[in-house]
Symmetry: C2
Subunit: 123 residues, 2 copies
């Protein structure tokens, strides 16, 4: 059975894709794919997503140069989430951090702090 | 500003939570939280989710014993995804695999294979 038949896209035809750095396991970002962007990802070995706000395809790094070279694509038991391992060039986050998950909660009450250094000036 | 104000829950009041093993970075699963389950997660240091299909709260491991001890909770630049690092007891996947992402795509055409060993008999 082709793996596409195992996948469950949501009502908008999208599936969340977790992107992880293959070199050390850092989770870099999460973005949404549709079937066409997933096919393009597998064909080109670069990550292609569907922007829900802009309603268009985008390739990670197409403007910044911070591309992701795809090393593997996995999917979960329910078929409703993808895990993509990549080699990341530069910062994955458009705010200049290596990972988009640069803020960590400090306590149940709700304070948080930045737990990662900015590696790139996004301006 | 409390971090809750940074978060964007979707139209159903939910936010996806990526769960990662803090010991070696393996991505274990992705599930959905609402504000109450996130608060409970922060208070109890166990992962609580909202089941979209069953419309109820569930604690990971409440029936299997495969609990997740929460070590950190981070959120991304857009505030629409959580990354939770845990110490996992046993298999995270209800199918008996350590990680739910046990199937990997082999080629663009669509074949896939199981790339992880089952560590627990779910029956």
């Amino acid at each position: 059975m082709p793996f596409y038949e195992k996948l469950k896209f949501n009502a908008d035809g999208l599936i969340p894709a977790i992107v992880q750095d293959v070199t050390d396991g850092r989770v870099l970002m999460m973005a949404w794919m549709n079937k066409a962007s997933l096919e393009k990802t597998l064909e080109t070995h670069r990550t292609w997503f569907w922007s829900r706000s802009r309603q268009k395809f985008w390739m990670k790094g197409e403007s910044s140069g911070h591309v992701q070279v795809v090393k593997s694509v996995s999917f979960d038991c329910d078929g409703d989430t993808l895990l993509i391992q990549v080699e990341q060039t530069g910062a994955a986050c458009h705010e200049g951090f290596r990972s988009c998950f640069f803020r960590t909660v400090e306590e149940a009450g709700g304070s948080w702090k930045t737990t990662e250094e900015r590696i790139d000036d996004p301006s």
